[in-house]
């Protein structure tokens, strides 16, 4: 492909090889359109519902009487419902949509028998709905990240199997040629997730392992859902959309390969660092710490690769919604992963473990990185799926800034609160005369009270993100109500593009 510098008009000229590509891509997009659209709509639904759950849970932490009469809305239920609706409802549905859309395009093959995917999407969302309902009824398994009651999960597994098989079929019948880095990540993730999910489900819910093996399996699963499911899909999206929007190639194939294989090699062990100080053999914990430290390699490699691709094009952040969300997500990925490696070191873990710092970190990863990347991808996909342009640049701007400021306030506020909380729980003083060691803050309740300002800041951040999600939802629905765009219409931009820029394409 040497068309990076060819003009917009030339690309429209019929009969040239240039037109072959839009025609082929639009045919492929048309074939994935129904299931991808189904996944996106359900993702949006669960995002909004998950946001409501999140706000209720957050407010309850500093105002426990809030909705205190409703039995099914206790903190234990609502927080769990939040986690599962955003992880399995929003993030996984969005990941399915984006993964399919990218996989079909890069494989240059039309998806056949998409009805199967429709069934998969219906099963998946039914499973999530039953699971969330079960949690609110009080049927949670109380195993972190696997709280869906056992009567909901087989449905999810069947749906996932269909999704996975269909993406692999698309890959199998790809057009000959180079397999691009996004395809590696998507293909790997489609194998990794069912492996994680089925093993964890069997070893923890259906035929539970005994004793110290249980927490090991639990954290192996929970951490790998982030690292071997959401991370690869997020990175596949950045690798696809960055060069797609900029019209220039990824900086280095070798860095892509190094980043991919080191992630595949090291991530699987990293979850064990959640059990530092727990009743596990020393070597298991140390192996987990070492793997977490070695995660610096894929993170830095991928970060450098993305940065060297972006360099010289940062001006495009002013106008392209997709790029803006992608770059925010990509930079958050580097930052959150380096913080994560630091949290795995024994001396820092002593401070951060069992505090709000961990909560801030989880949202940093799943929101500031993954969710923002998914937003960016959806902004690119929707005009191609619906033939309509985004109705309002203002709404996109509100979406970006509300979410970006919201998650920044969330992470900074809660990390700070978590560090103070952690320090107060372990800080001691030694009496110089008697050598007696006492806690600096002897009353646990005082430590809890000191976290309240940070919990309030979390609720404010949550309100900001809710505003962002609402403007996204309004945009999304408004777009569908519009007439189809006519040929040659300009994309919706956040600011006018200067005429000097070659990129008059979105």
């Amino acid at each position: 492909m040497s068309s990076a510098d060819s003009s917009f008009v030339a690309s429209l000229k019929p009969g040239t090889p240039e037109t072959a590509e839009p025609a082929l891509l639009s045919e492929i997009d048309a074939s994935t359109r129904a299931p991808v659209f189904f996944f996106l709509c359900s993702a949006l639904f669960w995002l909004l519902l998950g946001t409501v759950f999140a706000l209720i849970a957050s407010i309850k932490l500093h105002n426990p009487a809030f909705l205190g009469q409703a039995e099914w809305l206790t903190f234990g239920n609502i927080r769990t419902a939040h986690l599962n609706s955003v992880v399995y409802g929003w993030a996984t549905n969005a990941a399915f949509a984006v993964a399919f859309w990218i996989m079909a395009r890069l494989s240059r093959t039309k998806l056949r028998h998409v009805g199967v995917l429709g069934i998969a999407a219906a099963f998946w969302n039914l499973g999530v709905a039953i699971g969330i309902g079960g949690i609110l009824r009080g049927d949670s398994t109380s195993i972190e990240w696997l709280e869906f009651p056992a009567y909901a999960t087989p449905l999810l597994f069947v749906a996932y199997a269909l999704v996975g098989v269909w993406a692999i079929v698309a890959f199998r019948f790809r057009a000959p040629g180079h397999v691009y880095v996004s395809q590696w990540y998507i293909l790997a993730a489609l194998f990794w997730f069912p492996w994680l999910y089925s093993i964890a489900q069997i070893m923890l819910v259906f035929a539970p392992a005994r004793g110290a093996v249980q927490p090991l399996v639990n954290w192996w699963f929970a951490h790998n859902v982030l690292g071997l499911w959401f991370t690869p899909i997020g990175l596949a999206s950045i690798y696809y959309f960055l060069p797609k929007v900029l019209g220039k190639p990824i900086h280095s194939y070798y860095l892509s390969a190094l980043g991919f294989w080191s992630l595949a090699l090291f991530y699987n062990w990293a979850g064990v660092h959640h059990l530092i100080g727990g009743p596990e053999p020393a070597w298991v914990i140390t192996a987990g710490i070492v793997a977490s430290l070695l995660m610096v390699i894929p993170v830095v490699t991928t970060g450098i690769n993305h940065h060297l691709t972006m360099i010289g094009s940062f001006g495009r952040l002013k106008d392209s919604p997709t790029l803006r969300f992608m770059v925010f997500g990509g930079m958050s990925y580097t930052l959150v992963s380096l913080i994560g490696s630091a949290m795995a070191v024994r001396s820092f873990n002593e401070l951060s473990h069992f505090t709000h710092f961990t909560v801030a970190h989880a949202h940093h990863g799943l929101y500031a990185f993954f969710t923002m990347v998914m937003f960016g991808a959806i902004y690119y996909m929707m005009p191609r799926l619906t033939g309509r342009e985004w109705p309002s640049a203002t709404l996109i701007s509100v979406h970006f800034w509300a979410c970006a400021l919201g998650i920044t306030l969330y992470v900074v506020g809660l990390s700070l609160g978590g560090l103070i909380q952690g320090w107060e729980m372990i800080a001691t003083t030694t009496d110089p005369k008697t050598q007696e060691v006492t806690l600096q803050v002897p009353l646990f309740l005082d430590i809890v009270k000191h976290t309240i300002p940070y919990l309030v800041s979390r609720s404010l951040a949550g309100i900001l993100m809710t505003i962002g999600h609402l403007s996204f939802a309004v945009s999304f629905v408004w777009m569908l109500l519009q007439p189809r765009a006519v040929a040659g219409v300009q994309p919706t931009r956040l600011s006018p593009v200067s005429a000097v820029l070659p990129a008059s394409r979105a």
Binding site: M1, S11, I250, A282
Partner: protein, 212 residues
């Protein structure tokens, strides 16, 4: 999604027409400094893994320990025979001989201040391994109502070091101040009495415990 336009959905949308080509990668080789730093990190992590893995022993839970019996002293090397014996005593002996080691007058003989316990170790090691039945005279008082069970092959089948620990404990507790019984001593006596298939009578042990 309702589709009211006359075009087929597969027709390129305006967004498709203005789209950049599909992505690809350049073949830039990464900086050698980056590869060097990655290698350095792997090397450092390997050192850390070696240092804090407890010798990859599944029973070592403290990362500062190098493994059982390792150079930094493992679990076995750290065993205090009196402490280990105390646990064994509490689980196996305390019902009859009591926590005070005083036994029960008229039924179970005392261990505290006992001439047997503080006497020749050959006698008590034999009693532990094979048990004792029949009358026995301790500190001049005769007890004849209960049998001492075997902890060797005829009974609980304890290893040499467990027998050594519990005997060391009763020889150094409650004011007793006799020397430690080593597991080598137990092993020697076990080998010497390997043919025996029943409990001892006190009279048979007279050579090690001359009646006073």
């Amino acid at each position: 999604m309702s589709d009211s336009n006359p075009n087929s959905p597969a027709d390129p949308t305006p967004a498709h027409s203005r789209e950049q080509p599909e992505p690809h990668e350049e073949q830039n080789f990464p900086s050698l400094l980056l590869l060097f730093l990655c290698s350095l990190l792997i090397f450092g992590s390997a050192l850390y893994l070696q240092r804090y893995s407890g010798g990859f022993d599944p029973l070592v839970y403290n990362e500062e320990v190098q493994g059982r019996g390792g150079p930094a002293g493992g679990a076995t090397a750290a065993v205090d025979p009196v402490a280990a014996g105390k646990k064994l005593y509490a689980l196996n002996c305390v019902t009859c001989h009591q926590a005070t080691g005083a036994g029960l007058p008229g039924t179970y003989p005392p261990l505290a201040g006992s001439d047997w316990v503080n006497g020749n170790e050959d006698a008590i090691v034999r009693i532990l391994i094979h048990g004792l039945s029949g009358p026995v005279t301790v500190n001049g008082v005769t007890y004849n109502s209960a049998a001492m069970p075997a902890f060797g092959p005829l009974g609980s089948n304890w290893k040499d070091e467990k027998i050594a620990y519990v005997l060391t404990y009763i020889r150094q507790e409650w004011g007793n101040q006799s020397p430690e019984v080593t597991k080598e001593t137990v092993a020697r006596i076990r080998a010497a009495t390997a043919d025996r298939a029943k409990a001892w009578a006190a009279a048979e042990l007279a050579e090690f415990h001359p009646a006073k």
